[in-house]
Symmetry: C2
Subunit: 307 residues, 2 copies
């Protein structure tokens, strides 16, 4: 029992004749006869009473017509559902981000949702170091990272350039200083993120280069905790600009520019290079690309080579 047979059945039933059905199906009459004959053979039941001029359904034929209509309708729905996926009227995008890269994501999501309101989004909150494997294992389709992951199978796209910001409490002496050099920071208590990162090493190197002591008296596990700690006047911290935009705007924290501590941090999207991109993911990437075009710096869309 295949769809062609069912379509033929319905055509014959509705046209009340094999010849007319053949015309409707753009097929010859013997083709229709054979199709129905084969279907009858498969089922072991006659479907039509051909004894009179017009073909009439038997009981079995009537019952099967009923199913045929339902089956063909369902098949057509299936086709539409696939169309909907292509048209971004259906689907879900699985993303992975960490505490920090989430902040970038928020800026894109808003725009994405306006363009693809029907696409659901799931953001998996992960540790940065776990994100590449989540992408490789297909738990998520796109990861958002602040480092360039290794791996032949990943495609990395730099999408945002963030600058580290040295932040202090508004009541801190440095908050009112005209010009601050790295040497001025030797006496300060640095509050650090307790995860190893390339950035951390760069900072240590910068202080070493200027022969300035670096006091990392407090190490905290979250950016939220670091910001709160600085805000209470317990030290200074070097954090990604994105994470403190809000607090600087509200005056809760003050950013202190230091020439020797200008570090950039690139936010990247990663996805499996060889896997076919879902339409939802492709649309997401397009939104990111458009954002770079419309909003300009610090947004960008720069595919990086694999390492």
């Amino acid at each position: 029992m295949d769809f062609t047979q069912l379509e033929t059945l319905l055509a014959v039933a509705e046209e009340k004749g094999f010849s007319r059905a053949a015309a409707r199906l753009h097929r010859t009459q013997p083709a229709v006869s054979q199709t129905i004959h084969k279907l009858e053979g498969d089922l072991g039941e006659l479907l039509f009473d051909r004894s009179s001029r017009e073909a009439n359904l038997t009981t079995a034929g009537e019952v099967l017509c009923d199913y045929a209509r339902r089956l063909l309708k369902l098949r057509s729905e299936a086709g539409s559902a696939i169309q909907e996926i292509r048209n971004l009227e259906r689907g879900r995008l699985q993303l992975a981000a960490n505490e920090y890269t989430c902040l970038y994501l928020l800026r894109v999501l808003d725009r994405f949702q306006r363009i693809c309101p029907q696409i659901g989004i799931t953001v998996h909150r992960s540790l940065a170091s776990k994100i590449p494997e989540e992408v490789l294992e297909r738990t998520v389709e796109i990861g958002i990272l602040s480092f360039h992951p290794e791996g032949e199978h990943l495609r990395t796209i730099a999408v945002y350039t963030d600058e580290l910001a040295l932040v202090v409490s508004p009541r801190h002496p440095l908050a009112r200083a005209r010009r601050v050099t790295i040497e001025d920071l030797g006496a300060e208590n640095f509050i650090a993120h307790n995860v190893p990162s390339p950035l951390r090493r760069q900072v240590i190197a910068a202080f070493a280069k200027h022969k300035t002591p670096l006091n990392m008296g407090v190490e905290l596990p979250s950016l939220e905790a670091i910001k709160r700690c600085v805000s209470l006047g317990n030290g200074v911290a070097l954090v990604p600009g994105l994470t403190v935009e809000q607090e600087i705007a509200s005056g809760e924290l003050v950013r202190v520019p230091v020439e020797a501590l200008r570090f950039e941090r690139h936010i990247r999207l990663v996805h499996r290079k060889r896997a076919p991109l879902s339409h939802a993911a492709a649309a997401f990437l397009q939104v990111v690309r458009d954002l770079a075009g419309d909003a300009g710096e610090p947004y960008e869309f720069r595919v990086e080579r694999s390492v």
Copy 2:
């Protein structure tokens, strides 16, 4: 999109691999690859991500799998439904009978319903003369008649031999008579059915043969009315035995045997000779045949030749 493709899709999805799916489907791996490839081409969408060792569904693939399961389930239900018709677990039998032949039908129906409890029955109440055309026009599948209809396309089966009964009221003088001859009826008022029938002519001929006057003072349109009329003592009537069995048993009417008025009436089934018999109709005929075998006279099952 055909069922083979959908089955293949599910096999690959469930086995997470083309080769394993091929084994399950008793087909070779290239066949599976080609089937999926063609399906993808038809839909314009990739269904699997083959980039890793195991095949993973894309969004479109997942959606289609969902539909595939529903479609295959529905097809299997359709197959079962056809089976049910064959097994007499589903169906409806359309019969045509008139006031009189209905009485025969009642005796068969009881037995039929015990054997085929799932088969619905619709009895079309028709005028006897209209029944053959109802059968020919397929309004009903089997007609029940008391005469032998003409027509090359009808098959006629005599199933019951009924005898006409002369009935009178229990208070009528003939009710107590020892032996009644046709001549004794010359003074009686005959209540007749006002439809012309071969039988009516036979009765008139019998009276003429015995040179007995026949007074048909009252003509009524239904057997029910005739019986009531006789029961009230307004005359005598010659009616089919089947129609008065109840009343004779209850004593409401009395049957008076008259040698010269022994007329037989055959009840027949008719159906289209060339049309395929439904399983329900075939079962019905079998019940009628069995009844003839089990119950014996007056039941029978005698196919008559077409005229």
